[in-house]
Amino acid sequence: MPLISNGEVVADNWNYLDDEFPLPSEGDVVLTLARLEREQDAVARRTGKTGVELPNSADPEDLSAHLANIDLVILRFPAFTDGRAYSQARVLRKRLGYEGEIRAAGNVLADQAAFMIRCGFDSFETDGRQPPELWRRAARAVTRAYQRGYEPVGGLAVRQGTAPG
């Protein structure tokens, strides 16, 4: 499962932690939302980084109390046609001011890259079928956009009203 970020395959140092497995104080682990809520005090004391996978149906506001202790939010696409995660990412970035990593997982395709980046995603867990070169190309396929107020992709020009990215 190559992880792609900025058009390159990057190392993935995160471990998805089974709910039964005790919470380690070190290392970078991804927790379920339920566990994060249950063990929030222990999470706050960790020296390693903590990530969380937000279910597709969850309200991103559920994370608001935890964002100070979180370095990664994983949003999973059950199908690439299921667009809820775009709005989840948008709410995390714009309303909740989250500045850590947002990662797309599940059925994630290069053809979505530009949309995802503009909504605030940084990294993509892929099935490896689409090479990084295709991801780079897809992210730059359309270099102009009409929507103001979304994250600029490198080189993207936004219709007047905001400074081009």
């Binding site: 690439f80 667009g83 709005s87 053809d111 949309f115 102009r144 979304y150 009203g161």
Partner: protein
């Protein structure tokens, strides 16, 4: 008319190149059909019964002569010499090959057109009143806002994978010719006590399996807040619209299940948190767009043109056509000409490439180069001087485009149905043709008067049957097509959903049933009362009685 600047042109070019590359990956097998499907749908490409179908956007129904000629050329070079104008102000080509589609998109881009988001679960081609800018009853031209929404919705990073398709319509007149209450979002330009114009926002209308009339979620949204408010609606829908059942995924179901009050509360809560200055359109940008829609210069023309009046008196055929086809223009001495694409016994909405070229020539010469496409599958010449009406009529007659039946019983809306569509359960075009032939005699049509018959070949209701005064829905049972009839639907400012009158009819008997309904109306109407008014007065009972006693 709006003209692309360098930004718009480059955007569409890049989108074509992107799609060409996606088609290439499909053809070399690196994209599966399942992966390609949503990508091609976002560019208006369907796989139909016999071939691909490309649906081209005609934003808010506005075309120039040059664009119309380009469509004619595409029809000749990539289709079988005709195109089909749809109920959403689009045109469909039924026979393109996948490998040719990027070349067709290139041709469209040459004339500032595209097929972006004419299908798929995204915000579709934005529609508007086909008389926009020229209607005598208009408060304000809706086209600048429709264009703004076209731009805002194009490749929207957040709202391109919605639970289901999403349709927006805008009207600037109190008389609703855009069926806004049947849209996911309907926008009505209204004037407040201070004399300012803004928007009444309706949400949750739609046809399909569960027809619903949209509810007003806000009586007043300012122009500056239009995009932020729509952003709030879209986010609530994107996060909470149902994705477990395709038939329950439209925003109308969310509005219905939450209740209008709760839906409004959620949208307002979202709206309150949005940085409006970031999302909203800067006034200068709105101004830039609006400039393109400034009225053309009209020469002083006599409101009661004498040549026109003489021709009406001396030529009965011209007078019959003018009575149905000519509508009041906001400027004295001018008229709106409606062109019927419903020859008696013909295929509703179809036009040959020769007819497209003829319309382009006529528009160039006599309508300030402007053409409109209506959601009733007809065309409009919005800028004709009264003194030119006779010449326009003669030219239309030569092109086979002067059927004097606008608004009459043979001006039928019909989807392509089982003759083309892979979703259809029954044929609809042949039913439209039969009804048109049966009732299409000129004198009889005139006697029947204003009536809207709308036919869909399946529950998806592309033929808008729910909004037909007489609606016909084609279904299938045990391998047999049968047709359900609804009465009393309307898509105007007093929108209503037609009611099923009883058991369906076979393809042989449905025409008889429609004829019986029409004759029953003639028997019971009071002076000057059209079909819909009569139906609303007497209800379904007399019609049911007549139809089911007779069959």
């Amino acid at each position: 008319m709006y003209r692309y600047d360098e930004f718009d042109a480059a955007f569409v070019r890049e989108r074509v190149d992107q799609f060409r590359e996606q088609v290439g990956r499909r053809l070399d097998g690196s994209l599966t059909e399942e992966e390609f499907r949503p990508l091609r749908l976002m560019n208006g490409l369907y796989l139909q019964l016999h071939a691909y179908m490309l649906r081209v956007a005609i934003p808010y129904g506005t075309l120039s002569s040059r664009q119309m000629r380009q469509l004619a050329g595409i029809a000749d070079d990539f289709d079988k010499g005709y195109g089909h104008f749809t109920t959403r102000q689009n045109i469909q080509f039924n026979w393109p090959k996948l490998v040719d589609v990027p070349a067709i998109l290139d041709r469209l881009a040459e004339v500032e057109m595209h097929a972006i988001q004419t299908s798929g679960n995204c915000i579709r081609n934005v529609t508007a009143d086909h008389w926009a800018g020229v209607a005598a009853d208009e408060i304000e031209d809706p086209r600048p806002y429709a264009e703004l929404l076209r731009q805002w919705s194009s490749l929207h990073p957040e709202f391109s994978f919605l639970p289901r398709k999403f349709k927006i319509a805008v009207t600037g007149a109190p008389k609703d010719r855009a069926a806004v209450a049947y849209h996911d979002i309907g926008l009505r330009i209204v004037r407040n006590e201070k004399g300012e114009t803004g928007f009444e926002v309706l949400v949750g209308g739609g046809m399909g399996r569960t027809p619903m009339i949209a509810v007003t979620v806000r009586n007043w949204v300012t122009k500056a807040d239009l995009l932020p408010y729509l952003d709030a609606i879209m986010r609530v829908y994107n996060l909470h619209g149902r994705r477990d059942n395709n038939y329950k995924a439209r925003v109308k179901i969310l509005v219905h299940e939450l209740g209008a009050e709760e839906f409004r509360r959620q949208v307002d809560a979202e709206f309150a948190q949005i940085d409006r200055s970031e999302i909203g359109v800067p006034p200068a940008e709105l101004e830039r767009i609006a400039t393109y829609f400034a009225p053309p210069s009209y020469e002083n023309a006599d409101a009661s043109d004498l040549d026109y009046h003489r021709a009406l008196k001396t030529d009965a055929s011209f007078a019959a056509w003018a009575e149905r086809s000519v509508a009041p223009h906001r400027v004295d001495g001018h008229a709106i000409v409606n062109i019927s694409l419903k020859p008696v016994g013909g295929i509703p909405g179809d036009a040959t490439s020769a007819q497209m070229r003829a319309v382009a020539d006529i528009a160039e010469r006599w309508s300030k180069d402007e053409i409109r496409v209506s959601h009733e599958q007809n065309l409009v010449l919005p800028q004709v001087r009264k003194r030119d009406l006779f010449a326009v009529w003669q030219a239309l007659t030569s092109a086979g485009l002067a059927t004097p039946n606008i608004g009459l019983v043979s001006d039928i809306i019909s989807c392509p149905g089982l003759d083309y569509c892979s979703l259809a359960t029954a044929r609809s075009i042949p039913i439209a043709q039969k009804i048109s032939n049966r009732l299409g005699d000129a004198r009889r049509q005139k006697e029947i008067g204003d009536i809207k018959i709308k036919i869909s070949g399946c529950i998806n209701a592309c033929g808008h049957h729910h909004a037909g005064h007489i609606g016909i829905l084609g279904l299938e049972k045990r391998g047999e097509e049968y047709y359900q009839i609804t009465l009393g639907g309307s898509g105007d400012e007093k929108a209503s959903i037609g009611e099923i009158i009883g058991p369906g009819f076979s393809s042989e008997t449905v025409t008889d049933a429609v004829e019986t309904i029409v004759d029953t109306y003639i028997g019971l109407r009071k002076d000057g009362e059209n079909f819909l008014d009569a139906y609303r007065r007497v209800g379904a009972a007399p019609f049911k009685e007549a139809v089911y006693a007779a069959h």
